[in-house]
Symmetry: C2
Subunit: 872 residues, 2 copies
């Protein structure tokens, strides 16, 4: 018979997978001889079994629970449900990783109409006993039956009103008795049965509630955002109650061994006397700082400080602890590695190294890569923020804070920004034509689209703050108004956006620039010493390239040439090329683009020094470059001096049923080889230009959307023969290579063939994910929520590489490619390149580099270092 | 040094891969002691080397050619370019498979200004000599330099006009001399050099022209349509000239050992005296039937008949032969297995078995599966067809012939067909709403869309004639007119369509129904005895199901339930379901559909007897069921009694960027489980109903578009629990299974997981091809032609399974699936299931069955049998 229940003193405190974080640390503290109330842990395996058994706790597990309970009762000399001397417990969840959203705590479990009287008599404190009971009814009803807290708060408020009092502590024992009666009546009314009077039934009910809460929507959503697998399950910790609400010599509190906001090494905490559980954070009474305890109870304070130091030394990290003082005696209820801000995280990691507690590698592991985002973007002024109102909430699409007046179109944003105005671009959704407006805006707000919409992807690439998909916006572009909950805002109003939370504030909230302290640099240096993966950036402009270098990028892994095509001074030539009906016309238009594109490359090469630059040839379908509204087509026809009908026909001809599966990528080159000729000239001529002044530029030409070796060969032949011509004409050699994206499933499974023609592979995991799953990221938003709700998907495959499916294709691609060319350089340039868990996967399958947006480069560096350390 | 050139007597006549069909058979005839002019073959390997060497014939091969030439010269006692006694040759291409579109023949090679005089003197026939020379100049110019025949025809016509004569034979020797002078002047004018006077240069030029013709666009296109790999290459046959134009005792002709139209065992052929090469088929002089030779030259006739019989006995098939009589002496120039009609093919195969020449298995191999199409569709009355004019040509999208008055909408087609009118549905393009109109029309004609457009796919499924993508149609739906080349046709005009050629005829051309002779049945029976693969049909209606059974289908492999949803009596309920905003509303609408769908299944089960029926649950995105034009939405809103704005918003919300990658397949069930509940009820209740009357229906429920095991499990759980409920309520059991389509790359590569929940796999190769290549069939039409032209693709992956990429995923899918369940039933239900080469592939990778449209069932049966025989 498998063992599912362990006393704290039996449990293996190193095994968080089995006992959860809380249970494991309770075991550790117990073993360290700290004052921990007795108890036991029901393991995460019991939770897994609960789900396997069709959401049923097996008889076996129930028996083991009561067996453990009996031992703890014996220890305490009390009996569960004893009318004279009742044994009470707390029930708390505890998964491997800390997980808000799950059921947290039920206190005072074991109280019934009978045993509450015993407790009153025993403690000679009826008020205390009734207070415990009414709290228990509230908590139990909420977490076990879903009968919300608000119902109870209403009853409490009514009674306060009737009694004309303000604080809970002002209730008398008989007030509390009255409350209990009302609560029980409410329970019976809403649930249909009496409030359970059997403590054993209460205990099993509470245990099941913990298991169930593992799969409630908030927990699922939290897991998705934090890469926590649904298979882990939660443990349940059942522990002897100690009481912080037994009068003025009792109390309860929380503390950190270091300041979680700044990282400073000072004991930081708060507590309340004569209080229980959530009272400390509920905000009705103002808690006291931990220093106050030094004055009022120096003995307990000294004992507590010693314990906190011992815990930090033992766990080698800043601890977040819960404690209770019962009639002057200290009890430790919990300890865990404390959550902290990014600033605190890097300071603490560095300090712990200096203090000799941990190694540099351990320090690197202590910083959560995703958290670095905070350090790399401007934030709101905290003081101003407190007095600002959130008027709506969208999706946190690109981090940072932004403030500016509303602009309703990209042109308007450009015009007003040129005059020195700060603007926030507000659009229904953005399209490639909005690029320039997005670049000049402080932030971008859209009504439609998810975290992978055009606005979100482009904004993240630019490091620009973006809140996307805020359905509450009603935008009237013509009238230049946006209405939110009935309030109308115009171009004269300020919006302030928080791209990390999705919050939208009306009015001005000042921002403070990102500050990268010396600690940051130190962690990055240690990370650089550890990692094996190179880290590059996706950068399309010299500005991005410079930014990327500053953040430590070792080259460009993806330079999207099409973004250059949208610029105002080029789009006319691009359109001229598109509407060309002969090769000659097309070549003429391309000739206009050549010097501009060449110049772009020169600037980018310069920004990257001698680091490699991977240039991807034109990728998007041509219809993205032309207007689709009749009025715009008319205007363009006039501008281009061709008939409206002719232009309309051409534009109509570019329409596609499934643009994602259409005429784009290298397919464009197969149809119009002239485009690749021009782009090759620009790449090679720019390199020659730079090399004249002593540089040694090594351009890497990357062919997108290849699915067949012959396709790659066709394009490569054009590239090579053009490059040869240019080099011969200039009598120099350029050290260039030609590689391909692996973003089509067929390319991955025929990678042995494709490697014959490719100098390098770069996995385009955005498209690869779309094709492998058969859904486009633009459309998946419609059903992915159902997939999360129904537990079919745990995470968004566009955020985190799907290692089972897409990852398998990547693995196959790398293996087959290196079967042909053992030294084949393989990288990734999809958005996944900046996602820590995906970076770890890339390390595991042996990629040479990851490439991500400049603002995620430090994150990728840290994740790469952690992957290398973990795989040792 | 590899050997690239073989004398006919040295060559291995069994090795067509190396010597091509023509060369191999010349070798065979030589060894059989038949009167074959001496010569030699340059192998297909030389052709491959020619392309490998960058389109250059290596010195080595040239040396081998002249070495062989010297031997043949010695035999003939003549010398190449000898001014007294010139040796002349013919140069002919010859690939492994017979391939029209390539260069065919150059005769009289070796003639120059000097040697022509020698020939004249030697034969004492200057007219003959000059005629040979002018023919040679024409042929050589055309095939080697691309200087078209029409230039020469013009000169000939001018001279005829001047001389006032009609036939070439009326030219005098000096006329011909004049022609030669004009031809050479033309050559010099257009090509810039003199006509080559070095016979060796001529020979190498002609050889290279043959190699080059292997890759001309017509040849590439022919290969694509006939599954011939581009790697095969062609051989070149160089042979001593014999002359059919040496006067009235000379002649040339072609003959078949059996009638290629009917298969009857009679010698069938034509010849012309005093003629050369193409004169027989040029139609200027009317050739004589072979019987005529019996009278005029019984000796040669007898010799010829003996040879033809010997050849047929030797090759064990009907032979197509070319012969020449030079001054009364017979020469055999070529023999090959003759092309024949489908009718002839099956009769000849059966006859050869009866004659004891071949086995049944060999007979099965002798019939080309694709040809059977001809036997299964109505054809035009040949006599009427001859007097009809082709007014336009579209793509041959679905075979057969059709004739009817023009209908411009599906509703109109239905209305008029109900009155007994024969109609042809003429549309810009068709959509799912046109289904009923398509079903009642005799044929379908569209202006847009390719061979895989909606119209084409649905028409093929229905066995309905369809001509698609005829760009010359200008349709005015409102005015009910269609204009072709300026001529206006109305609803009172007849169109006749040939779906096998794409021809469109104005007016009425009667059709004759398909006749399936007893020979057909016999071949099918033999095929059934040989094959291992089961053959099922894709059928959505009882009519299709019956048709499928008649053609030998052993079950339904794909019953698309959505086609039932478009019917006029259902679409209202379907739309009601779509616009529902609550589960209750949706269930109410579905309740209306339940009895109809149940009844459909009852009828289909009945039609299939106890054969298995695979029912695929709702697959297409919901927006396919709602109108998108404002006027139609208004009408629907009125009909449904909801506000126009509300309906518009709902319909707008259904729009997708990439519908192919959108909310469809099992994703619909995840969002709306009610749909699967209804469909399961219908499937199971229908089965119970049928089983009451003694049947033993075994429905196979198939879940589409699965990409993840959890997705399948979610849907399967709904299906199973619903089925259990229905069976419990009815107190019976139904022997049903639940399987999945494998049509998403992720499903194929995680098939080991998916097999845990699937009772069977069915490869949906249409979608699998789209996702694996990353292009949709609706959009690929725009660039696939460029891919063929540039030799990147050899065949359409939507017609023929791409064995390297998509096929690899299929193999992986089967292997992984059977790793989990060794007996897992695997099939295919994409359109590829009816393509012979794809059927062979399915046999090779161990599928259990293929499923295709009813009209392709016999083709699949034959292909399956051939695959089994070949793999022995």
């Amino acid at each position: 018979m498998a063992k599912f229940v362990y006393l704290f003193k039996e449990a293996d405190g190193k095994n968080k997978a089995m006992f959860g974080g809380k249970g494991a640390n309770l075991a550790e503290m117990t073993k360290l001889g700290m004052p921990v109330p007795e108890g036991f842990t029901v393991t995460t395996e019991a939770c897994t079994k609960y789900y396997e058994d069709g959401e049923k706790i097996s008889e076996d597990i129930i028996a083991q629970i009561f067996e453990a309970l009996a031992k703890v009762e014996a220890q305490a000399g009390k009996k569960f449900g004893d009318p004279e001397n009742p044994f009470l417990v707390s029930v708390r969840s505890g998964s491997r990783a800390s997980m808000p959203g799950m059921m947290d705590t039920i206190l005072n479990l074991g109280l019934t109409d009978v045993s509450v009287e015993g407790l009153a008599k025993l403690t000679q404190n009826p008020r205390f006993a009734y207070d415990c009971y009414r709290r228990f009814i509230q908590m139990y009803s909420d977490v076990v039956t879903g009968l919300g807290k608000s119902y109870f708060e209403e009853i409490i408020d009514e009674l306060k009103h009737k009694k004309n009092i303000k604080l809970d502590t002002e209730f008398t024992a008989s007030d509390l008795k009255e409350l209990i009666a009302s609560f029980k009546a409410l329970y019976k009314d809403k649930i249909g049965t009496d409030f359970p009077q059997d403590p054993r039934q209460q205990l099993i009910g509470a245990t099941e509630a913990v298991f169930k809460s593992w799969d409630n929507p908030r927990a699922i959503s939290y897991r998705r955002m934090n890469d926590i697998p649904g298979t882990w399950g939660t443990a349940v910790n059942i522990q002897s109650m100690v009481f912080g609400n037994m009068g003025d010599t009792s109390g309860t509190g929380v503390a950190f061994t270091r300041d979680p906001a700044t990282g400073e090494k000072v004991l930081y905490g708060e507590y309340l006397m004569n209080a229980q559980g959530e009272d400390v954070v509920a905000g009705i009474r103002t808690p006291m700082t931990i220093d106050h305890l030094k004055e009022t109870n120096p003995e307990v304070y000294d004992q507590f400080v010693k314990i906190t130091q011992k815990l930090e030394d033992y766990f080698k990290d800043m601890q977040d602890m819960e404690f209770t003082i019962e009639r002057g005696k200290l009890y430790m209820l919990q300890t865990r590695n404390g959550k902290r801000t990014a600033h605190a995280a890097i300071k603490i990691a560095c300090d712990l190294v200096e203090e000799g507690l941990i190694t540099k590698e351990e320090a690197v592991l202590k910083v959560e890569p995703k958290q670095l985002d905070e350090l790399l973007h401007p934030q709101f002024d905290c003081v101003m923020l407190r007095s600002s109102t959130v008027i709506a909430k969208g999706l946190p699409a690109s981090p940072g804070a932004a403030c500016g007046k509303i602009a309703f179109s990209a042109e308007e944003a450009v015009r007003r920004a040129e005059k020195g105005e700060s603007v926030v671009l507000v659009r229904l959704e953005t399209s490639p034509e909005d690029i320039e407006g997005m670049a000049v805006a402080k932030g971008i707000l859209t009504a439609r689209g998810g975290r992978t919409s055009h606005a979100a992807v482009v904004a993240r690439g630019m490091g620009r703050c973006c809140v996307a998909g805020c359905g509450e916006l009603v935008i009237n572009e013509k009238a230049k108004t946006v209405t939110i909950k009935g309030v109308v805002y115009t171009e004269n109003d300020y919006f302030s956006l928080d791209g990390s939370t999705g919050n939208i504030y009306a009015g001005k909230v000042n921002t403070v620039p990102a500050t990268v302290s010396g600690y940051f640099g130190r962690i990055m240096q240690w990370a650089n010493e550890c990692r094996k993966l190179k880290v590059r950036a996706n950068a399309d402009t010299p500005t991005d390239a410079k930014q990327a270098r500053e953040y430590g990028a070792e080259g460009i892994g993806l330079c999207r040439t099409e973004h250059m095509f949208f610029a105002e001074d080029r789009i006319a030539a691009v359109r001229e090329m598109i509407v060309s009906t002969t090769v000659k016309q097309r070549e003429k238009a391309l000739a206009k683009l050549l010097p501009m594109q060449k110049n772009d490359f020169i600037e980018i090469y310069k920004a990257m020094g001698n680091y490699p630059v991977t240039i991807r040839f034109l990728d998007p379908p041509l219809h993205e470059f032309v207007p689709h509204k009749e009025s715009e087509i008319k205007a363009l026809a006039k501008e281009m001096d061709i008939a409206f009908e002719e232009l309309s026909t051409i534009i109509e001809g570019l329409k596609e049923f499934n643009p994602m599966l259409g005429h784009r990528g290298c397919r464009l080159t197969v149809t119009y080889p002239e485009i690749a000729v021009m782009q090759t000239r620009a790449v090679i001529e720019a390199a020659i230009e730079c090399n004249k002044s002593g540089a040694n530029v090594k351009p890497e030409i990357m062919i997108p959307l290849v699915g067949d070796i012959k396709e790659l060969k066709y394009v490569k032949d054009i590239v090579v023969s053009t490059a040869e011509k240019v080099m011969t004409a200039n009598k120099v050699k350029v050290d260039y290579t030609v590689g391909t994206m692996i973003e089509i499933p067929r390319a991955a499974i025929t990678a042995d063939e494709i490697a014959k023609e490719a100098d390098f592979f770069s996995f385009g995991t955005n498209d690869l994910t779309q094709m492998t799953y058969g859904f486009s990221r633009d459309d998946a938003g419609k059903f992915l929520n159902d997939y999360y709700d129904k537990k079919i998907f745990e995470s968004d495959p566009f955020q985190k590489v799907d290692q089972i499916g897409v990852g398998k294709l990547m693995k196959i691609g790398v293996q087959l490619g290196r079967q042909t060319k053992p030294e084949l350089k393989c990288g990734i340039c999809g958005e996944h390149g900046g996602d820590p868990s995906s970076v770890e996967f890339c390390h595991q399958i042996g990629l040479n580099y990851v490439s991500c947006s400049p603002f995620r480069v430090p994150i990728a560096i840290l994740a790469a270092a952690q992957a290398a350390i973990k795989s040792k």
